[in-house]
């Protein structure tokens, strides 16, 4: 029992409620939410430290013992993701201060932003599969609001589709929970793991696991990403950065959690399926990234490709591959948010999202150019930046598991991602300006400041791998040995 676990959830929740009361004083809202995200970063950091020192922490809500009540579990995997979430959302919030605009601020942008954090962090920490559904809904409902806030025509049009697809996947989620409950009679994830192991993962349970894979795959954009490019394109940069950095990763987290903790008995069917879905996702994502000349679309299709790569780490399911998946997940959250923030700054300067109409930005904005270059290199996985270690581990694990074809596809994908990022870089920053720079709003220059924190973080994640690796190693070990998780939750 450790009450610390509820704090990363409670801080944004209380903040959000407070902000609703001060809906007219936008300055005060900025102060409160700016302070609260920083507080949350430190709490999450402390949580990682505690988990490193004392192992997996649990919290039984309302004092109900584990399989009966709702339990919160912080193992190293979850707490690392919570820490990354808080950092990324802090950067996006500070970026939003300068870019989101009065109109959206007046209509509860900051409360919705905090509620989104509640949902994301809750999904990482919960140890109950129905509570996971509830946290997903908290996250999704805030994302509905954020995606449509502003009410432009294309936002309305795309948010209709976004909501529809999420309602359907939520309905399927409840249906899969119903089947699972009928077969094993519990909802606590640790208890589920025990019961599934006792019953043996037969045909029925494997079918249910594939149903879960479809549900989470829809949220994560694993192969079922058809809804993603349209809806992520319409909101402003700060919101897209949060979505791209956090939302799809929550789906990936759920896939990794369920298939390492509960349904790990029949990897021949489930993990092979995940592997091929991952390969298809990587290829299709990167084809999309090459096909478009729109900076937003290129970045969005890069999200899809990365989802495939991380899922491949899960499919290989050995120590190296899982560690790689965790490392890459953390890296990808940071770097995707960073790229969208920088993309937003570029668009603010040039006034267009089409890279063919830009050019020569390096001369007038060298800092922005170099930051984008570093971010792109980190995304591709050039050493010593953060993407390299994750990629190395996943490739190593993939080869060890005998997935030669998919590993090859992964490496090919990296090359094509390099091509797509270089195409942005060369078109936007090199050459001569094709059209006069539009006069940016006052204060646009300050927007690179929150982004620069994330740049420093990607460099630290790469150069400091020596210090960070033990944490990732611990997380990977817990994923490989579900007994540790079960022991921590179901102990007397």
């Amino acid at each position: 029992m450790n009450n610390l676990l509820i704090m990363p959830l409670l801080i944004p929740l209380v903040t959000a409620v407070l902000l609703v009361f001060f809906y007219k004083q936008i300055r005060l809202q900025k102060w409160i939410s700016g302070f609260s995200v920083l507080a949350n970063v430190s709490v999450a950091g402390y949580m990682v430290h505690v988990v490193r020192q004392d192992g997996i922490q649990t919290l039984n809500m309302g004092g109900w013992a584990a399989p009966y009540g709702i339990v919160f579990v912080a193992d190293m995997f979850a707490s690392l993701l919570v820490l990354t979430t808080t950092v990324v959302s802090a950067a996006c919030l500070y970026y939003a201060f300068g870019s989101i605009g009065k109109e959206r601020e007046k209509f509860y942008f900051y409360p919705f932003f905090q509620f989104l954090n509640v949902g994301v962090i809750g999904s990482f920490l919960t140890g109950d599969i129905f509570n996971l559904f509830v946290c997903f809904e908290v996250m999704l409902i805030s994302s509905y609001a954020l995606i449509v806030l502003g009410g432009t025509k294309k936002q309305l049009r795309e948010s209709l589709k976004y909501i529809l697809i999420n309602i359907i996947s939520s309905a399927l989620f409840v249906a899969s929970v119903a089947y699972l409950y009928a077969v094993v009679g519990t909802l606590n994830m640790a208890h589920l793991s025990v019961r599934v192991a006792e019953a043996g993962q037969g045909g029925v349970l494997t079918t249910i696991s594939v149903l879960f894979l479809i549900v989470f795959g829809l949220k994560a954009g694993l192969f079922l990403y058809f809804w993603l490019p349209g809806s992520y394109k319409v909101p402003p940069a700060a919101v897209t950065a949060v979505f791209g950095g956090l939302l799809t990763k929550v789906g990936l987290y759920a896939i990794i959690r369920t298939f390492t903790l509960i349904f790990y008995h029949d990897p021949y069917i489930t993990h092979t399926l995940i592997g091929w879905l991952a390969a298809a996702t990587m290829l299709l994502g990167v084809i999309g990234a090459i096909a478009y000349w729109d900076i937003h679309r290129i970045l969005i299709y890069n999200i899809v490709a990365a989802v495939g790569f991380i899922a491949f780490g899960l499919a290989a399911a050995n120590q190296a591959a899982l560690e790689g998946a965790i490392y890459y997940l953390v890296h990808d959250m940071v770097v995707k948010a960073l790229l969208f923030l920088l993309g937003g700054v570029i668009i603010a300067y040039t006034g267009t999202a089409k890279i063919r109409e830009m050019g020569g930005l390096m001369r007038s904005r060298p800092v922005l150019g170099w930051m984008f270059f570093i971010a792109a290199m980190a995304l591709v996985g050039v050493p010593p930046l953060s993407g390299f270690i994750g990629k190395l581990l996943i490739v190593e694990g993939g080869l060890a598991a005998g997935y030669y074809w998919i590993t090859g596809i992964g490496l090919l994908t990296s090359l094509l991602i390099l091509y797509s990022m270089m195409r942005i870089f060369m078109n936007v920053f090199w050459g001569v300006p094709k059209s006069p720079l539009s006069e940016p709003k006052k204060g646009t220059g300050w927007l690179v400041l929150p982004a620069s924190c994330l740049v420093i973080l990607t460099i630290v994640l790469g150069l400091g791998a020596e210090w960070i690796y033990p944490y990732v190693n611990q997380a990977g070990e817990t994923l490989l040995n579900p007994d540790q998780y079960i022991q921590a939750v179901l102990k007397e």
Partner: protein, 112 residues
Amino acid sequence: MEILMAFAIGILFMVGTYLILSRSLLRIILGTSLLTHAVHLLLLTMSRLKTGAAPLLGEKAGTYVDPLPQALILTSIVISFGVTSFFFVLAYRAYQELGTDDMEQLRGRDDE
């Protein structure tokens, strides 16, 4: 009873899917709401239907009904209620702004 429920759930799923595949936004929303109804009934049925006592200590404690699925359904109903009403409002607003509720015309173009 379970077989009867299975048919009811199947028909609800069928009608819901049919409506979601149609072009009119209003029908789609009604389809999602039927789909969630079907899922709730599924949850109820999968935890076995029986007539029993309330899950309280006392004389009838031996024959109690599992309360957990009902709690889950209640939670899910509340969520789907909120989401459906939001969806309706959004659809109305989109209709006002875009002047159509035909999904075929809401495809959007790539070049914007």
